[in-house]
Subunit: 109 residues, 2 copies
């Protein structure tokens, strides 16, 4: 079956209480906003194309900030806007996973 | 490649401003919490198994409340706790899509 969104990326924007480390402390909100704007500007947003989504805790906090692209089930960690732009251009537009930004399989909470 | 979570369900919990209709007005929070508790009680929660996640607007508001199961890319709408329990038992545990609760393909914002 086909996916309503060809690629659906979820950013963890969770803010953990009482100073525990979390994606929100590592620029997650800015990355989400930059991704959303970049996808829109590239004309990739919408049904049959790409959706950039806010999410609660994705439970892989040790690798934060994290995002996951479905239905590919590819997880990323990222540092700056250039990383986000590479994910958009390479993966979200062209389906090429950005290997250098992949989250290691054993990273959990 | 295998998925970090075998099945990852996202519930739209978005509250739209100024009275626009949205999932949050249709029991989305309660459904999320019931799903999370049911999955935990069933021993299905965790890496390699199931993750129940909060999400922002999934942009299919006209079918709200909605949830999506990845990597399967199956979208659901639901009414009550029985619906949630059926999604957990049938789909999240056994991989059988609950056809009667599927969101129609043409439902958008």
């Amino acid at each position: 079956m086909s996916s309503y969104f060809q690629r659906h990326i979820f950013f963890c924007l969770n803010q953990r209480p009482s100073g525990e480390d979390c994606c929100a402390n590592h620029g997650a909100q800015e990355a989400f906003e930059h991704c959303k704007a970049t996808v829109k500007k590239a004309g990739l947003a919408g049904p049959g194309q790409v959706r950039v989504n806010k999410a609660g805790c994705l439970d892989r906090c040790a690798g934060g900030p994290v995002a996951v692209v479905y239905p590919d089930a590819v997880w990323y960690t990222f540092v700056d806007k250039t990383d986000i732009e590479e994910i958009v251009e390479s993966h979200l537009r062209n389906g090429q996973v950005v290997e250098r930004l992949r989250l290691a399989d054993d990273v959990g909470r």
